[in-house]
């Protein structure tokens, strides 16, 4: 049934329809509404014996998730930003032990300077933690993808992170058809763990492994994750039939076939990009878009097949690898090795900077006219940066950059020293 819902509510209800048995949670914006809603659902008795555990930190949340999952319980949690960093060690343990935990990441920037708004710095920082990473464009996709995530995680015995843009999606009200418990039941069988601590059949997990087998264990993790490249499209097809709407899988192409310029991005910005693509195509520009739905494992072959005809590929990414530039574009370049396409890195939307249609028009017109540099910071206020550099040169103790620049642009909160 279609409803007008907040994204966080839609996700909470879709997760509840998957009948998790343990939910350890620690609040952090912009994820909090999701676990708040789930706590109410558990409290109301709608999930039977499901345990919602308020823990003292994100490190504890993931550690408890590991323990719960290892006993054979379907386990879910959610976090964002610094919370993800705080659980980083446990993330590697969850994947290394092969535990099918599902986690929502409400994408948010990482400090310093502290910032609560959306970008992809958090999930990108953990891209190599062994978790599968799926990115969603809308709240309908967010709700549906969690259902797929549980099945995927449990079939491969690997953890899955569903990345949804903080605030932009988590706090947005739009129409969503939340998968019902009946629909989910037809798609998601009861959890039968591959890795389980069972008193009747005791084993120990997490053993010390030396040089004699460590590489083999890690290699196996890679092989297992790569299996998701076949499994995700198969599951997306099956879920699509169960829910009666098409599901994204590895990459989704929008008018990209035969386009000279193709813009590649992840998450909710695709909506704005698609509007821009439509209008620029009406002007006669040969432009299309590709959504990278699955980032880990990285769909090299599928992306190569989708992009190989393009003259230029513009990778719009909401994270910055300081000291080198793009993260997504590095992966895209691997996919396009040996192809003629020029790959451009565009860093955009850091810390919640809006990515506007006007900026996208400018960007794509520059690309179309062969004016786009290999590396661009979209809508960067170069003059503000230059003035701060000037202050730094003028005085050795010129003060903190963040506060100086806020004062420069007249943001009241910074105030005079």
């Amino acid at each position: 049934m279609l409803e007008q819902l907040e994204g966080s509510q839609a996700v909470a209800r879709a997760v509840a329809a998957c009948r998790p048995e343990v939910i350890p949670a620690y609040p952090i914006s912009p994820q909090t509404h999701i676990v708040e809603a789930l706590s109410a659902i558990v409290k109301a008795g709608e999930l039977g014996s499901c345990q919602f555990v308020n823990v003292e930190s994100e490190y504890a949340a993931m550690s408890l998730a590991i323990g719960a999952s290892a006993t054979g319980a379907r386990t879910y949690t959610a976090t964002a930003s610094q919370g993800l960093l705080y659980m980083a060690e446990a993330l590697y343990n969850a994947s290394g032990l092969g535990l099918p935990i599902v986690m929502t990441l409400a994408n948010r920037a990482i400090g310093a300077p502290i910032n609560i708004w959306n970008d992809h710095s958090d999930s990108m920082s953990q891209r190599d933690s062994g978790w599968i990473q799926l990115y969603v464009e809308s709240n309908q996709e967010a709700a549906d993808t969690h259902v797929l995530a549980f099945r995927l995680a449990e079939e491969l015995s690997l953890p899955v992170m569903v990345c949804m843009d903080g605030f932009v999606l988590t706090h947005a009200y739009e129409r969503v058809d939340v998968p019902s418990a009946e629909q989910v039941e037809r798609f998601l069988p009861p959890y039968e763990p591959r890795q389980v601590l069972d008193p009747d059949d005791p084993v120990s997990i997490g053993a010390m492994v030396g040089p004699e087998a460590f590489m083999e264990v890690k290699y196996l993790a890679h092989v297992k994750q790569m299996q998701a490249l076949d499994l995700i499209p198969a599951l997306a097809g099956e879920l699509g039939r169960a829910l009666g709407r098409e599901q994204g899988a590895l990459v989704r192409s929008y008018e990209a076939e035969g386009a000279e310029t193709v813009i590649v991005a992840l998450g909710s910005v695709l909506g704005t990009i698609e509007d821009a693509v439509d209008e620029l195509r009406e002007e006669g520009m040969s432009v299309g878009a590709v959504s990278l739905r699955t980032f880990r494992p990285f769909p090299l072959a599928e992306l190569r097949a989708t992009l190989r005809g393009a003259k230029r590929v513009v990778v719009l990414e909401k994270a910055l690898a300081v000291g080198v530039g793009g993260i997504v574009s590095q992966n895209v370049r691997i996919a396009l090795a040996g192809c003629d396409a020029h790959v451009h890195t565009v860093i955009a939307g850091l810390g919640g900077r809006p990515i506007t249609k006007a900026s996208l028009y400018g960007l794509l017109r520059d690309a179309d006219a062969e004016r786009l540099q290999p590396m661009t910071f979209l809508d960067l206020d170069h003059e503000l940066v230059q003035r701060e550099l000037q202050r730094t040169r003028a005085k050795r103790r010129s003060g903190p950059h963040a506060e100086n620049m806020l004062r420069d642009i007249g943001v009241v909160a910074a105030g005079p020293v």
Binding site: E3, Q4, E6, S29, I116, W117, D165, F167, V168, H171, A172, Y173, E174, R175, S268, V269, G271, T272, E274, D275, P354, I355, T356, K357, A358, A413
Partner: protein, 193 residues
């Protein structure tokens, strides 16, 4: 597409207002999208929220930069925030104030816009009379009367859905209805929806 931007301060229900508007538009059978622009989450700080209403699926996620309608929940913001940024020439403005545009120092500014689409309404007074609290629901009633972007029936339904559990539905609905009637009496039937 009809785009609304709501300006107010933390604690005035600015975010809730956009959400209610989207619920009402959905009930009217439209596509709607509401989302906030949070600053530091504290009482009294300027807050902005957005709502888009359309006959077809809304894909864009950029903030509302060129609003068709503005709701200013707190007139003191006029001097701190560029609330009118991007307002369409044919746009509507609804300000929560007992004083008219001229007295708010907007006489000259308003010359560039259609006068019948610019209105001040004493929503705080209406709200105090009916529920003693936030002006957001009253202003939504006023916006419905001024623009017709949502029907009063759907707005009252959204208010019921949102506030019933807290026992505040009736008072909020009364405030919305009172402001709707006041604006309708001042402006007549809405020019556009």
């Amino acid at each position: 597409m009809f785009q609304i931007r709501i300006h107010g301060r933390g604690g005035q229900g600015v975010v809730t207002a956009a959400e209610l508007l989207s619920l009402a538009a959905f009930a009217d059978g439209k596509f709607a999208q509401a989302f906030p622009s949070f600053g530091s989450e504290r009482t009294g700080a300027p807050v902005t929220s957005f709502c888009r209403v359309d006959e077809r699926e809304i894909r864009t996620r950029e903030p509302v930069l060129a609003p068709d309608a503005l709701v200013i929940q707190d007139a003191t913001l006029l001097h701190h925030v560029d609330v009118f940024a991007g307002l369409q020439a044919e746009g509507y403005v609804l300000i929560n104030s007992a004083r008219p545009f001229a007295e708010l120092g907007l006489g000259e500014w308003s010359g560039g816009f259609r006068p019948e689409r610019l209105l001040c309404v004493a929503a705080s007074e209406i709200s105090r009379e009916h529920l003693g609290a936030r002006p957001n629901t009253a202003l939504l009633g006023g916006l419905a009367a001024l623009t017709g972007v949502v029907s009063l029936h759907s707005l009252l339904g959204a208010i019921e859905e949102r506030f019933a559990a807290a026992g505040r539905a009736q008072a909020n609905a009364a405030a919305a209805r009172a402001c709707f009637e006041q604006v309708r009496d001042a402006c007549g039937e809405p020019v556009h929806a």
